[in-house]
């Protein structure tokens, strides 16, 4: 795991530099503390009156009453880069309830070392989620459907060289030397928009699932 690379490398370098370590005294290896930072994901839905729009995977625009999502459970997760949903356990996950203004923040209460992470959020608006599901394993969660919405992005420019691809639905976040967040909104476009605008509408967005 690269998380420990910095300290492992330094420990190796100390030994390799020819300096003898008095094993009888038992001097501890020098460790370097890697500074850690915070990840966050903000969700913000734009409405038109009491209606909210989402796109489907086939690029059609669906309009739903905003009330359908208010008070419904959301779940967000952070994964190692390249994680496979439904297969890999997240590093952190959190449940919440969609507020009236359809905006919420996911800010894991833990620190992360710099590097790539994959984040995802889902709102179970049409699919029933029981208290047992919420307290149970995220791997046993129902697959979103029935007008549930989930994060999505087509933009792969966030994938750095040597980092794995991210699975569909995931948002790649590259954590550097500062707290880093991403904003996901409901975006949509139609044939009247340019190709660039259409691509942008599929970036850091939410898709609605049938």
């Amino acid at each position: 795991m690269k998380k420990f690379f910095a300290s492992a490398f330094l420990a190796t370098a100390v030994v390799g530099c020819g300096g003898e370590i008095d094993t009888e005294v038992g001097q501890p290896a020098v460790e370097i503390e890697t500074e850690k930072f915070r990840l966050s994901m903000k969700t913000k839905f734009h409405t038109e009156g009491e209606l909210v729009k989402f796109m489907t995977a086939s690029a059609s625009v669906v309009t739903v009453e905003s009330e359908f999502y208010r008070g419904k459970p959301w779940v967000a997760m952070v994964f190692e880069p390249g994680a496979e949903p439904g297969v890999d356990l997240p590093l952190h996950h959190e449940w919440g309830v969609v507020p009236d203004n359809l905006e919420f923040d996911y800010s894991p209460d833990m620190d992360f070392e710099p590097g790539a992470y994959d984040m995802v959020a889902m709102i179970y608006a049409g699919t029933e989620v029981t208290p047992e599901m919420i307290s149970g394993s995220v791997l046993d969660l129902p697959f979103p459907a029935n007008k549930d919405v989930t994060t999505f992005t087509l933009d792969q420019s966030s994938i750095k060289e040597k980092d794995p691809d991210f699975a569909p639905g995931m948002i790649r976040v590259n954590l550097g030397t500062t707290n880093t967040g991403v904003v996901c909104e409901n975006r949509w476009s139609t044939e009247e928009h340019s190709e660039e605008e259409r691509f942008a509408s599929f970036t850091n967005t939410y898709l609605i699932l049938p």
Binding site: A59, S60, V62, D140, L154, L209
Partner: protein, 388 residues
């Protein structure tokens, strides 16, 4: 066609595993000797051979390019926004990330939906049978063109959205021909370059088949191969984790997974009932599966064994996408739940219960079946400037 079937013969030979018992294939966990003949530790699950050449559809780059265009072009859908990646996204293991999808016939609404999960197209070029119920024949070219006639792409004017299962091939052939020769006349030159034919002079049926051949040529690139398991199988001890190797032992042993998920493609291409579509008090199932094709009682509720390469990328699972977690799939199969249907497949009687640790190891093995990244993993937007 004949050349294609001969090429598949290799796969068929290695997939005949009906007589194998767990004792014949299981070795000790500490020792996985390499077979001197095959050079593999598990010869029954050999790497995929090169995609066979098709004598009736020889490869050329223009054909592949044409197939890719047909695959991605939304102008070949009724709505003008649908295309194959809507359900078989090339960046998502050529499958859909949803339980079921919305056919183009329903556009712009979310209903009615299709009733079965869109399977991955990975390795479809090797498969001898297609779809969850093996319907619509064994001809890959016809299979690739068929969605144009279904509600999926809906080149069938006048059929109402509620009639989601209505298929009209002759009607779609007329409309496809119109789109390729009048709506987007640039396709005329592309077909000429690919097949040396003038599609304005060809019959509707011939243009249909040529479209299928071009699409099939494109998905020759949709192959999941060179997985971590393949490398380990060839002798690279570092390719798989210890947990994955333990999982392989479960796969070949207690789990009896290889009884159905056999051969290089990890499928016997037969139809099994895993109690996923249980009969009601009248004996009717939500989906009768293979029975709808054969009319045989023993096929009620039976569905095609899916191929397992890259399986951890193709959630959700089963014919109706009802299982989102691979662990839940395994727990179902190894439990009594898979034997609830009175018509359940007898092979399930041989499956043993697995511990949580064994299930975890099995998951790690299944992860090791993930193939190398495909160069065909692109988005529709990236190809907009590369269409006729």
């Amino acid at each position: 066609m004949k050349a294609r079937l001969l090429g598949l013969g290799f796969i068929a030979v290695l997939s005949c595993n009906t007589e194998t018992t767990s004792e014949q294939v299981v070795t000790t966990p500490e020792e996985w000797p390499i077979d001197p003949v095959s050079g593999l530790r598990v010869p029954a699950h050999a790497p995929l051979p090169p995609v066979p050449e098709w004598a009736d559809n020889p490869f050329n780059e223009a054909k592949r390019k044409l197939g890719r265009a047909l695959f991605f072009d939304p102008r070949l859908s009724s709505s003008g926004s649908g295309n194959c990646p809507a359900c078989h996204a090339s960046f998502d293991a050529f499958q859909s990330g949803g339980i079921v999808d919305i056919p183009d016939r329903s556009f712009p609404n979310l209903e009615p939906k299709l009733t079965r999960n869109a399977p991955s197209l990975l390795n479809l070029v090797y498969a001898p049978v297609f779809r969850w119920d093996g319907s619509h024949g064994r001809d890959l070219y016809e299979q690739m063109a068929l969605p144009f006639a279904e509600s999926n792409m809906n080149l069938t004017p006048g059929i109402p959205a509620e009639d989601v299962h209505h298929v009209d091939i002759p009607l779609a052939q007329v409309e496809l021909n119109r789109r390729l020769t009048e709506v987007v006349p640039g396709y005329i030159a592309w077909f000429d370059a690919a097949f040396d034919v003038d599609i304005t002079e060809e019959s509707l049926e011939e243009v249909w088949i040529l479209s299928g051949k071009a699409l099939a040529t494109y998905i020759r690139g949709a192959v999941s191969k060179n997985s971590a398991f393949d490398r380990w199988n060839a002798g690279d001890d570092s390719a798989m984790s210890e947990a994955a190797v333990r999982g392989l032992k479960v796969f070949l042993g207690k789990g009896r997974c290889n009884f159905c998920h056999a051969g290089p493609l990890f499928s016997d291409f037969l139809f099994h009932n895993l109690s996923l579509s249980l009969p009601d008090e009248n004996g009717d199932r939500p989906d009768e599966g293979r029975y709808g094709v054969t009319g045989k009682e023993e096929d009620r509720g039976a569905f095609l064994t899916p191929m397992l390469r890259s399986v951890t990328q193709t959630a959700p699972y089963f014919h109706d996408g009802s299982f989102g977690s691979i662990r839940r799939v395994i727990r179902h199969i190894v439990s009594d739940a898979s034997r609830k249907d009175p018509n359940y497949s007898p092979v399930l009687d041989q499956v043993e219960e697995l511990t949580d640790e064994e299930i975890e190891d099995l998951v790690q093995f299944l992860k090791a079946l993930k193939g190398e990244e495909l160069p065909t993993s692109v988005t529709s937007f990236a190809l907009q400037d590369e269409l006729p």
